[in-house]
């Protein structure tokens, strides 16, 4: 195991139109585990994930990877809060990341069909992805992110809008990925889910990380008053 963290955020902030949305943030993501990012709406969870994935440019500080930059990005995947579907069939959406990297079409389709099976969308392969339900789209987006077995996976509320059974499907996929070596960072509002999956927790409020702890210590003895209030379901101001 390498000793340097695969990903570290150093004094980074994100500013838009003169308004600071995030930061400054300092953070080290260690090689193993599943980090859950919690915080009220507008706290900056999505912004933080996007910053780490390179979708937002830091206006100060920086994001560093152990691997060379291009290689690091090639081994990441992101599932957006509102899933982006390509205007293609379900199968076309799933094979897209594979064919981008030179996998033969027949091969890519074979893999895609296996994934369709495991997300319960078998039989939908020739349907347009835009015609899927919201929850089906989220499952498809997750499968599309996992199909190239990324080392680092960012999930931005992957279970919003999902029913219980679908949530369970997704959690199963997430845990499978984790067990095969994928490092996962995930934002969620579902505290039950956070308890089930997290090894570490980041608590974000008003663009700052106010608490960073192991899951056990965060849920049992939150240190900041905001986190305590948040866990009780009170309003965080």
């Amino acid at each position: 195991m390498v000793s340097i963290p695969p990903l570290s955020v150093q004094n980074a902030s994100v500013t838009r139109n003169g308004k600071r949305l995030l930061g400054p943030v300092d953070l080290e993501i260690m090689a193993n585990g599943l980090t859950i990012i919690l915080g009220p709406n507008g706290a900056g969870k999505s912004t933080l994930l996007r910053l780490m994935h390179g979708l937002e440019k830091p206006s100060g500080g920086r994001v560093r990877f152990a691997a060379p930059r291009a290689e690091a990005y090639a081994q990441q995947a992101f599932v957006f809060q509102t899933p982006v579907m390509l205007r293609r069939t379900v199968l076309g959406n799933l094979t897209y990341p594979l064919t981008l990297h030179g996998t033969k079409r027949a091969n890519a389709e074979k893999q895609a069909l296996i994934w369709l099976n495991s997300i319960g969308l078998a039989g939908h392969e020739h349907q347009l992805a835009s015609a899927l339900s919201g929850g089906e789209r989220q499952k498809l987006a997750l499968a599309r992110a996992l199909i190239r077995a990324p080392q680092l996976l960012f999930l931005d509320e992957p279970c919003a809008n999902l029913d219980g059974a679908s949530t369970r499907d997704i959690e199963r996929l997430i845990l499978e990925a984790r067990n095969t070596g994928t490092r996962i960072l995930m934002a969620t509002h579902d505290l039950g889910q956070a308890r089930r999956l997290a090894t570490d927790v980041l608590f974000l409020n008003k663009g700052r990380i106010t608490e960073s702890a192991s899951a056990e210590s965060f849920f049992n003895s939150p240190k900041t008053p905001e986190a305590q209030a948040f866990l009780k379901g009170d309003l965080v101001l």
């Binding site: 994935h53 979708l55 291009a70 090639a74 990441q76 992101f78 982006v84 390509l86 205007r87 897209y96």
Partner: protein
Amino acid sequence: MLEIWQGIQAAFWLIVTFDADLYEIAARSLFVTCSAVAIAALVGLPLGAWLAVSRYRFRRFVIAMLNALMGLPPVVVGLVVYLMLSRSGPFGVMGLLFTPWAMIIAQVIILTPLIASIAHQSIRDLWAEYHDLLISLNTTRSQRIKTLLWDSRRALLTAALAGFGRGIGEVGAIMIVGGNIDHVTRVMTTAIALETSKGDFALAIGLGFVLIGLAIAVNLALHVLSGTEVRDRW
């Protein structure tokens, strides 16, 4: 008004009697405009996509220019192409003036900004939708352009058809660089201009109806071939 009725009759008889001249100029019109559209699309579609996905200085200026060029007056294009291809011009030695190739060149210049601009507009919208995903998937710029072109192909078909519509009805440029030579460079529009100048309005309108019919036929054929506007697809 009488001429319009006579024009419909003229169009009918020209078609049903398989008038050889009519079929020849109609085929030449199609050849010139389809070639020009094909070349303009080959240049304009990737250009439109490239403009949509690239960040560069003077971006707004370039796009404003492109939109302005959509309104290029064909006569001016014709004149410039004439001066280029004239024996006294820089490309005179190629001997292209007064050939269908000169007409294609002029139309490519007229159609490329139009096709690129329409393509840019629809690809820009799709790019806004795809931006985060394609960046996240670590695509190269050419992969992005290819994906956007493929996934907006129906909108791009519309761009090409808009180009076809402008080209098939264009007369100012091809008259100057083609010369409207009988059996060599005469096409539907220049024939219509000629009959109008002779005061033979009925025949001119008849040819006009055939031209409209031709445009409709091409549009329908392309839509059927590409399978758009069927079932519940967008």
